[in-house]
């Protein structure tokens, strides 16, 4: 019930916290003082308010004295805010009607040398909390329903793992794959490290599980085109491309033979051509392992290895000339070349992005000759040669003459660790090369193999063994990055390098050169990033919410990441992340509703002029323009709002405000703090995540500083407007400090950048009103920088002393006098 409808009945509870508070602050005096404050009908002090006994007392007091607001003067709210909220809720009060005064971390622990000053400050802190408490309103958490269906983008290893996990926990999954069949890049591999075991067996198992799971709807040849909504409530528009072949297809392959069009294969480069028609493993009746064909490798040979009933034809219209020969040839009349693509809408509650990676284009390194010299191949092209399902039936042959090479060179770090292409390390290329060396030596024991490297990187379980094995098998390792691969020794290739460990100059000839190319971000990452508002890094990889602690989520609630779309990684890591993203989805779906924090902003349409300044300040698209009868206005989407208050502070008309951190409440705290001896005081605006925690940390470390600073908690420094700062000076504040997060650390992405702008505005206003702009400070404080906060307060207090002594100018005397009277 709003307190304006009835009198405030505030209860104040001052905690001793054993000796932690009481050792410095006279809690009795503080509790006594509180009794005299407006609205306070009950005040007490006790030993440990958070203990069972303390909480029982609190609840009893609420009942006995019909309290409708509670102030707990104790430790930091970051310690026990939740505890006391639950406590008052238990006693029948709305949990948001409780306010804390931090008289431990921000007082007794940091002012232990000055008990009198600490006690005076504690009284002020209680006064501030009481004035805010009388303005608190009950708030209900925002509850949104959850559609318990997941959308997975990408049918590779990580996507399939995520889909399977989510389905097995009882929820529906829509798995969208751009190509005609599942498997991703892994389906192109012959064997994988570290065990050098066959990929297709394991992969086929996964594909089978996914396609046979009744909860997973597999949409191949499909792409997500548009996504709207928010966590728990997304709407996805999916384009389903036609294969132009109906279910009547028996997989006989006559259409493939008849098709007259050939195109150079884009994935597998120089080695072969393909046709617009391919035969793929039927999603409905997957082929048994080892004969599984992936649409990723549309080879025109080897289709006979697949049992007829398990494969279907698929036509890729991009390269098809629509000549119609295939349709005429088909005995089942299964080909419909004008079959339209279809758009579908799906409602989902969570999205897993698993769009995989692409390989570096070796033509970008012309000195290695991939486009000019046909015997220079990439590691993937070699992999396809090694695979018995590949174009050369598992025989490694020189593309120039089809003969088995006598000597092979591997060039590492092509398109990696290279400022001219990708500066990062490809992570798996060393291992792929070692694996391929082992496979080659198995097939061709007399083959001469040389690896040209900068470093051999084998980070991972069981990986170093591969290096030793390759050495044992007689592979030569030369530490020297080649400068070029050229033709010249007859039909052989010359690799020029320096052996940096001996200082020798090498220009050796080889029959075959393999370029170990790195993993790049997929082209589609830009599209997906724009569509889902997930940021991408400078190399195009999608960004996790936190690179260490939140690898499976993004900054967008409800959108998870899995696999190599977030960076180069091996299969175990992709699979892990598939599991991780699934667990975030399952945990989201474990509730019936999502409860969102109600400390959001809201707009008064009668004051809003539609200038849209607020829409620019919100990085979460929570504030949006709308059209109403009177013209443009804005609306706040509470379910997207994160509660930073940056939009509020930027509204020139005061149309926006924030629940639980309203202008009225913040001003009340400022006024209360500056009621007595304002010119001695520093008002410090600290953001919940960094500087408030930083000041707490100063307390933990018992770093001492003068007690003349009053901290006002905001969720984000972006909440602080120039008007708020000026108000503090109008009320006579000696100095004002705004302490945001360091530039890249803002919990709300850009709030601290806006704070910086507003500080500058404030300084301009101060100069115009002849208030010394030095009285306003802007200091970056992280949660770990207790010492930085301490130093800032000490310095500011020194300046304050000099102003009081007349050594430095205050500014306009008039303002001060007004404040003193």
């Amino acid at each position: 019930m709003p307190v304006t409808d009835e009198h405030a009945r505030i209860g104040v509870f001052v905690c001793h916290c054993g000796k932690n508070i009481a050792g410095t602050i006279d809690c009795d005096v503080v509790a006594d003082y509180a009794k005299g404050l407006e609205g306070v009908v009950f005040s007490s002090h006790n030993l440990y308010t958070c203990s069972e006994a303390g909480q029982t007392e609190l609840k009893k007091a609420i009942a006995d004295h019909r309290l409708n607001r509670v102030v707990v003067a104790s430790c930091s709210p970051k310690m026990h805010e939740t505890t006391f909220r639950l406590c008052v809720a238990d006693a029948g009060l709305n949990p948001f009607l409780m306010e804390m005064a931090n008289i431990r971390e921000h007082n007794s622990w940091v002012h232990s040398a000055d008990p009198k000053g600490a006690t005076r400050k504690a009284m002020d802190q209680v006064k501030m909390a009481v004035s805010k408490a009388s303005l608190l309103r009950p708030l209900q958490p925002i509850r949104v329903p959850i559609t318990k269906r997941a959308l997975v983008l990408g049918g590779g290893v990580s996507g399939m793992t995520a889909a399977l996990n989510i389905a097995e926990s009882g929820h529906e999954v829509i798995l969208v794959e751009k190509k005609a069949s599942l498997g991703g890049m892994a389906s192109l591999l012959d064997k994988t490290f570290p065990k050098v075991d066959c990929t297709s067996c394991q992969l086929q198992d996964l594909v089978n599980k996914v396609t046979s799971n009744p909860r997973i709807k597999v949409l191949t040849l499909s792409e997500v085109k548009e996504v709207s909504g928010f966590v728990g409530n997304f709407n996805a528009k999916i384009l389903r491309r036609s294969t132009y072949v109906s279910e009547l297809c028996t997989g006989c392959g006559l259409c493939l033979d008849a098709c007259p069009v050939t195109i150079p294969d884009e994935v597998l480069g120089s080695m072969r051509v393909r046709k617009p028609i391919s035969l793929v493993s039927s999603p409905q009746a997957p082929a048994p392992s080892c004969s599984g064909r992936s649409a990723w490798d549309r080879s025109t040979v080897h289709t006979s290895s697949m049992p007829v009933g398990s494969r279907v034809a698929v036509i890729d219209k991009e390269d098809c000339t629509s000549c119609g020969i295939c349709a005429r040839r088909c005995p089942m009349r299964a080909i419909e070349l004008d079959h339209p693509s279809v758009e579908e809408n799906h409602e989902v509650g969570a999205i897993v992005v698993a769009i995989g990676f692409e390989l570096f284009d070796p033509c970008k390194k012309p000195e290695y000759g991939h486009s000019k010299l046909v015997d220079v191949v990439t590691s993937l092209e070699l992999e396809r040669m090694l695979s018995p399902l590949g174009p050369t039936h598992g025989n490694v042959a020189r593309p120039s003459n089809g003969e088995v090479p006598g000597s092979v060179a591997f060039v590492q770090c092509v398109g990696c660790r290279d400022d001219k292409s990708n500066p990062y390390c490809g992570r798996i290329c060393c291992l792929i090369t070692l694996k391929q060396v082992i496979l080659l030596k198995e097939k061709y024991p007399d083959l001469d193999i040389t690896v040209f490297y900068i470093d051999v990187r084998t980070g991972g379980k069981e990986y170093e063994k591969l290096y030793a094995e390759a050495q044992r098998l007689g592979c030569r390792f030369i530490r020297g990055r080649p400068s070029s691969v050229e033709g010249g020794d007859g039909d052989r290739l010359i690799v020029r390098s320096e052996d940096t460990l001996t200082g020798n100059s090498l220009a050796e000839s080889f029959d075959l050169v393999v370029l170990a190319i790195g993993m790049n971000a997929p082209e589609d990452s830009k599209i997906v990033s724009a569509m889902l508002k997930v940021p991408i890094d400078p190399y195009g990889f999608l960004m996790e919410a936190h690179i260490k602690l939140k690898p499976a989520e993004t900054v967008v609630d409800g959108v998870m990441l899995a696999g190599s779309c977030s960076g180069p990684m091996d299969i175990p890591s992709s699979v892990s992340r598939g599991h991780a993203s699934a667990s975030k989805v399952i945990s989201l779906f474990s509730k019936d509703e999502i409860e969102l924090d109600p400390i959001v902003s809201h707009v008064d349409l009668s004051l809003c002029k539609g200038c849209l300044a607020c829409t620019k300040a919100c990085p979460f698209q929570a504030v949006r323009p709308i059209e109403v009868a009177g013209g443009k206005r804005v609306e706040v989407l509470a379910s997207l709002c994160k509660g930073c208050g940056t939009c509020v502070a930027g509204c020139p008309y005061g149309a926006l405000d924030q629940y639980h951190f309203s202008d009225e409440q913040l001003y009340a705290q400022i006024d209360a703090a500056l009621e007595t001896d304002p010119t001695d005081k520093i008002i410090s605006f600290n953001c919940n995540w960094c500087s408030y925690a930083g000041a707490d940390f100063a307390g933990v470390l018992r770093l001492q500083y003068p007690p003349n600073v009053h901290i006002i908690r905001v969720m984000c420094s972006g909440r602080v407007s120039s008007k708020m700062i000026l108000r503090a000076f109008e009320k006579g504040a000696g100095m004002v400090l705004v302490a945001p997060c360091h530039p890249a650390d803002c919990h709300y992405i850009s709030g601290n950048a806006w704070a910086k702008k507003r500080i500058e505005q404030a300084r301009n206003l101060m100069s115009r009103r002849e208030i010394n702009p030095e009285r306003l400070r802007f200091v970056y404080v992280s949660a770990a920088e207790g010492n930085v906060y301490q130093r800032a307060i000490i310095e500011m207090t020194r300046l304050l002393e000099r102003m009081k002594r007349g050594e430095v100018s205050w500014g306009v005397e008039k303002v001060l006098q007004e404040a003193r009277t």
Partner: protein, 160 residues
């Protein structure tokens, strides 16, 4: 040594990971193994380079190393920076004689090369204009150039 090199025109010196691409592409190393740019850079980075720094004069300045280096070290600039330090030192250390002669020539005529014999007449026949610097222009050039010369070099200029 390392910091001086960085200061004098090789700001990316410390980015080197010793991959060897520069040496692999080096025009000179191919014919003379004693000039090894990668090794020189390592010496500059971690060692007392004073005995090896004159090797920087062996570079052909073809620039292929810089073109191919994956770390933007600009190896050719490292060599040029080293040369600059040697020229600055008094006396100019180990400077090849032909370069010394060129510097002296510039401070006397403004040009690094002397005239071929019969040039004046030939230019007249070919109807080519005068290109010599006049006295005040030469003064300007000397003022700009000679503060970077050591005492010995200055003496050599005046002698000839």
């Amino acid at each position: 040594m390392r910091d001086e090199l960085i200061e004098n025109g090789a700001p990316n010196l410390t980015r080197c990971i010793q991959c060897g691409t520069c040496t692999a592409s080096c025009t000179v190393f191919e014919l003379d193994r004693s000039y090894n740019p990668r090794r020189l850079i390592q010496v500059f980075l971690v060692d007392d380079a004073s005995s090896e720094i004159p090797k920087a004069w062996l570079c052909s300045t073809c620039g292929v190393c810089t073109e191919r280096c994956p770390k933007e070290v600009w190896p050719m600039d490292v060599m040029l920076s080293a040369r600059g330090l040697l020229v600055r030192s008094r006396p100019p250390k180990d400077m090849p004689k032909d370069r010394l002669r060129s510097l002296i020539s510039i401070s006397r005529s403004g040009f690094a090369y002397g005239k071929k014999s019969g040039l004046k007449a030939r230019r007249l026949t070919l109807k080519l204009p005068e290109f010599d610097l006049d006295k005040s222009q030469l003064e300007q050039v000397r003022e700009l150039l000679m503060p970077s010369f050591g005492k010995k070099l200055k003496r050599q200029v005046d002698e000839v």
